[in-house]
């Protein structure tokens, strides 16, 4: 299989391979230095675990937490590294992966609730994950939400009994234990979801 012959027929002249000398660190990979800079910044992010620079590097990472995970002896994680499968993680340390859906977003994420120690940490992380949406943080507000503003999202979760509840109603540990999945719901749809004093609102899923 001669790739040289194929090369000539496909006219890859502009992209002709220039062979850098071995040992040379980071020869110009692309003519555009902007590209290179972006990559090395991403690499630095992963290696040195800097604070997540959301504006430039929302690379869709699942668990680039902005606050350190609860145990100081563990580091913030690079997605999918080390390459250990989730079901193994479930055995070795307590680990609770739940799916996160956002109304209007085309994709789901999974988060490990055990990585956080408070609602604030979780919501901050969700916000950075779905950075185009504003997640209304009930912990700060305490006020009834502005239902007219359709761009606000309310974090809700499905508990062990299949009921949909507002995030923040129960103590954190109880929430982690009972949460099966999360959904960031448009504020307009969250009417009727009460706190623990009102009956739970069942959604027809």
């Amino acid at each position: 299989m001669s790739s040289e012959a194929d090369n000539s027929s496909m006219n890859f002249d502009e992209t002709a391979l220039t062979l850098g000398l071995p040992g040379k660190s980071r020869p110009s990979v692309g003519e555009k230095s902007g590209v290179k800079r972006e990559f090395s910044e991403m690499v630095d992010l992963n290696l040195h675990k800097k604070q997540n620079n959301d504006q430039e590097h929302d690379d869709g990472s699942q668990v680039e937490v902005t606050e350190p995970a609860k145990s100081p002896a563990s580091k913030a994680q690079v997605v999918g590294w080390p390459p250990v499968r989730s079901f193994r993680k479930n055995t070795i340390k307590s680990c609770k992966y739940v799916k996160v859906a956002v109304d209007g977003a085309p994709y789901l994420r999974k988060v490990d609730l055990e990585l956080y120690t408070s609602y604030q940490q979780l919501l901050t992380s969700l916000e950075s994950m779905f950075s185009c949406f504003t997640i209304r943080n009930r912990m700060n507000d305490g006020k009834p939400m502005d239902l007219v503003n359709g761009s606000e999202y309310v974090p809700t979760y499905e508990d062990k009994d299949g009921d949909w509840m507002l995030v923040g109603d129960v103590p954190w540990k109880m929430f982690v234990e009972s949460c099966r999945r999360l959904r960031l719901m448009k504020s307009s749809e969250a009417l009727g979801l009460g706190n623990r004093h009102t009956p739970c609102y069942k959604f027809p899923f």
Binding site: L17, G20, N46, Q62, V79, P83, R88
Partner: protein
Amino acid sequence: MAYSFPVEVLEHIFSFIDSDNDRNAVSLVCKSWYEIERWCRRKIFIGNCYAVTPRIMIRRFPELRSVSLKGKPHFADFNLVPEGWGGYVDPWVLAMGRAYPFLEELRLKRMVVSDEALEMVSKSFKNFKVLVLSSCEGFTTDGLASIAANCRNLRELDLRESDVEDLGGNWLSCFPESCTSLVSLNISCLGSDWSLQSLSALERLVGRSPNLRRLRLNRAVPLDKLANLLRRAPQLVELGTGTFSSELRPDVFSNLSGAFSGCKELKALSGFWDAVPSHLPAVYTICSGLTSLNLSDANIQSSDLVKLISECQNLQRLWVFDYIEDSGLEALAESCKNLQELRVFPSDPYAMEPNVTLTEQGLVAVSEGCPKLESVLYFCRQFTNNALFTIAKNRPNLTRFRLCIIEPRTPDYITLEPLDAGFGAIVQNCKELRRLSLSGLLTDRVFEHIGTHAKKLEMLSIAFAGDSDLGLYHVLSGCKSLRKLEIRDCPFGDKALLANAAKLETMRSLWMSSCLVSFEACKLLGQKMPRLNVEVIDERGPPDSRPESYPVEKLYIYRSVAGPRLDMPAFVWTMDEELALRLS
């Protein structure tokens, strides 16, 4: 031709040809052999469900009895493939339901399977026998209930490592009393909360399955039920226990020990969730017959592990946590001279400091003591080139070598050099190496070694390695047998990829994420190579909303005769000619 064999004779001869490669070769001899072969092929393996369509498969092979399909790329195991990417089995089941009424076996890996698909399987194929769902998702226990209820001759139900939504109900009781054909049942991935009804349904099912050879239980099955199950199935060859912890009552222990000693044909053991070390001696009576031991769900420490392993002199396969430590591996090397496969998993992969003393020494010891060792998966925190030299020298018979040094870019901890030379020795000495995963600090040099020597390498996994496109160029131009290449976080970009575009048609697939391949190069590749699907996976939004020179987030390239797929989610774009024109 007057002198050719009658069709029936050729068919009979072909019926002895089992391997896919041989069958493929037979079909290329001449037109009539192609025709005869395609009518008598009974088994097919499709490594990428998007490489071909159900219609094409059915058109060519009208009489299949066994179909195996794989969906998502391997890196999906580590959450690198976003949910909703694809790999749906439903269209396949729909088509096969119409075309293959006599289908007997369906084996799926990393596919999305719905309850509806399972119901359709259970109702479309009257003689359905084998269902294996490996790392699949999208279905619930309701789907399993359909299979149990409708598949009269079911022999195998294997849910290994699938993600099943447990809706309660009691699906095991859906197996009719008349179902006595089970040979293999693997439900180890199911949940840990089960009702008493489910447990008793399981007991009855096991009790009426005289051919049951493989039984892997889930965590919900308590230890005090295990003895009962074993007494009902003393013919078991493989057992996965449920939870292995309970109060240590002498009667429970002796009952269990007795039950195990009744299983004289047991060759493989797994499970052991929450294992309490004092219970482990219950299995000692059958240890000498064991060839496979999977302790990767058990938090057992080194000394107890060693006691157990030293009873298992005939062990060929061991999966264990790094709790075994170097000392335990040295003991393994002493006791288990038939060892062929070793996998050591990290007990605390995210800890900054090592929590156990597991280093390169352990693997070196096993490579020295176990002459038949050919398959290694090893997670640790430090390594040296010298250790790799030693392992390569000791074990030229290695066929699979996956080393994961947990911290990316870790150099040889003694010389502080990259591990290029060490891995180079591995590929140079181990001439039959088929699978390799790299880690540690690596420059382009290691890829030069791989391209030069790894001529039988079929699958290569690379992460946080290399300096430039030269690295990728070496691999693509040198590794003749390469089928699957998966790369993450490496500075590989457009040039090597485009210069070796033709190579990609000889491979099953290429995955690249967090590399430096530009959108422009993806478009070019997609335009020039119509038999490749070039998929750009980018959750930041449409690639044309950024400059063309920007690297794409993730890239998945695979050869296909099916053309671009039609079931892509919003964050996946196929770079075919039409799309490229539309976007430019």
